[in-house]
Symmetry: C2
Subunit: 313 residues, 2 copies
């Protein structure tokens, strides 16, 4: 049976796995990324990790998911802030230690690929993976292939404006989807609702504003608190507007929601499905994108990285 | 030399052309669409038009661009309001009269293909054609292929929200890009500016609000009128926000602007290029989409339709 190796390179850990062609993990290894460190040192530890998991079976290919903007043809990471990578030829640095081809992709794209081949997207041709975490990330798989755009900068839907002149975004624009739909936006909206409503039961969930997390609002809703419901409705509305834009742009078969906020499960999905009504440009009865939860959690990245060879091979 | 036939089916006219493989029109014919009429009658006139232009040379393929939502595999038009088409098998209806294969596509997609092969997009791989007319239409060509999505509903970027809870749009959503960037939006913004500024020179360009067109504001700017400049700036800002969203989503090599409003030329493009600064999520110095004017005007549709065989063949 053919096996491949995936590497999920993060700011904290290097996670590596030997994966079969159905996406099942056979071996797993992990080392600290150990920042701040030179790229050469990180690459050496990636090589060690790969050797750890592939001692028994030689992989057909190796895939690496990394933060930052990646040229998938050359394997060069243009820029990755949290790893101090700048035009770093990661593919070549790791590749010289192995006979197998090494493919490099953005980590959000790798995670999308994991869900596509081995998670929520199995059987799909066109899927968008949306990650609701510190930011809003989107990985595009169009007609079976990762889509990266002409300058490897496609799929930054977190940085599309849904409220012209709205909340400031880290990217410098105002009113980006990310500024309304990422976890920090949910925290901010919960805090604002609490400040406006001293009587809210949210204050029993989080006694101080500093204790508010992305889960607070869901606990408030569970207690039947109206302020929490209103705050969640606001968040879900903006999430739905952005997802509607995504559907009207890409018309995918499936949208798969991952990241911290998606951990709320049905408490998020039920109001979201209601809020999606009217957001999609279609005639009545026409099929449109299904919206589902991601299935692989944190493993999506390392499994998807192992699948990169299937895309490029 | 191989020749193909293109048909641009509109609510008013059937335009048909024999086109060589560089996109040059060799023969041209036109008949009134003659609405209201049954689809069978329209198809018969399309057949006559095709015979008119191909009497000398048999075409290798025939392509038809039509309004509405088209399944390019079956050639069935799901729905086209202004032609009374509803699940109309247009490809089969025309195809039975010819030996050559008949391909059907949405007219905006056909126009995008015309610019791609024979106009502003020559030499590109990934291009988005944006039409600023009665609505805002977008035709997507990704990595050399028309992209239609999983349910032939992709590329409705005119119906992506840029102002949550903003101006009502014909589609039922609020704050769509189309509600700010189509020609009627420019007219509306010009009218509002005139109402707020009775001293504006716009009143000399258009003595009554009913006389305002999409050109009025540009004539006012030419006269140095501040009210006109402010109205144009508002329009251009919303146009730039939507184009920035498009770039951050699709990262095309080229965006090609057509439709009535684009007829303003430099008077539109210069403020637009300034307004695009800061709208694109990229690191400094990284190449990004060029924004240019369409080159083929009304011929883009019929030329692009003739090129459909190149996509599907």
């Amino acid at each position: 049976m053919a096996v491949t190796v995936g590497v999920d390179l993060g700011g904290t850990n290097i996670v590596c796995a030997l994966v079969d062609d159905t996406g099942r993990m056979l071996q797993r290894a992990q080392r600290p990324t150990g920042m701040p460190r030179r790229a050469e040192m990180i690459a050496e530890d990636i090589v060690r990790c790969i050797r750890d998991v592939s001692a028994q079976q030689a992989p057909e290919s190796i895939g690496i998911g990394t933060p930052g903007c990646v040229d998938p043809v050359t394997g060069v990471v243009g820029y990755a802030n949290n790893l101090d990578f700048y035009d770093t030829p990661l593919g070549a640095m790791v590749g010289r230690a192995f006979d197998a081809p090494v493919y490099v992709a953005n980590d959000a794209d790798a995670a999308a690929l994991g869900e596509f081949y081995a998670g929520a997207g199995q059987g799909c041709r066109t899927m968008v993976a949306v990650t609701l975490g510190t930011g809003v990330g989107t990985g595009l798989i169009l007609e079976g292939k990762l889509y990266n755009g002409a300058h490897w900068a496609a799929g930054e839907l977190g940085h599309t404006v849904i409220v012209m002149d709205g909340e400031p975004c880290n990217c410098g624009r105002k009113g980006c989807w990310e500024a309304y739909a990422a976890a920090p936006a949910l925290v901010r909206q919960t805090q604002r609702a609490m400040q406006a409503h001293p009587e809210s039961a949210l204050w029993t969930v989080a006694p101080t504003l500093e204790q508010v997390t992305g889960k607070t609002v869901f606990e408030g809703v569970e207690k039947g608190d109206e302020t929490a419901q209103a705050a969640l409705d606001l968040y879900v509305k903006a999430l739905a507007v952005g997802l509607g834009n995504l559907v009207n742009s890409f018309d995918p078969e499936l949208i798969c929601l991952g990241g911290g906020v998606s951990g709320a499960g049905d408490a998020l999905m039920q109001p979201l499905r209601r809020a999606m009504a009217g957001q999609v440009y279609t005639r009545p009865g026409q099929p449109t994108a299904r919206i589902v939860l991601a299935q692989l959690g944190n493993d999506a990245g390392v499994i998807g990285a192992a699948m990169l060879g299937r895309q490029r091979g």
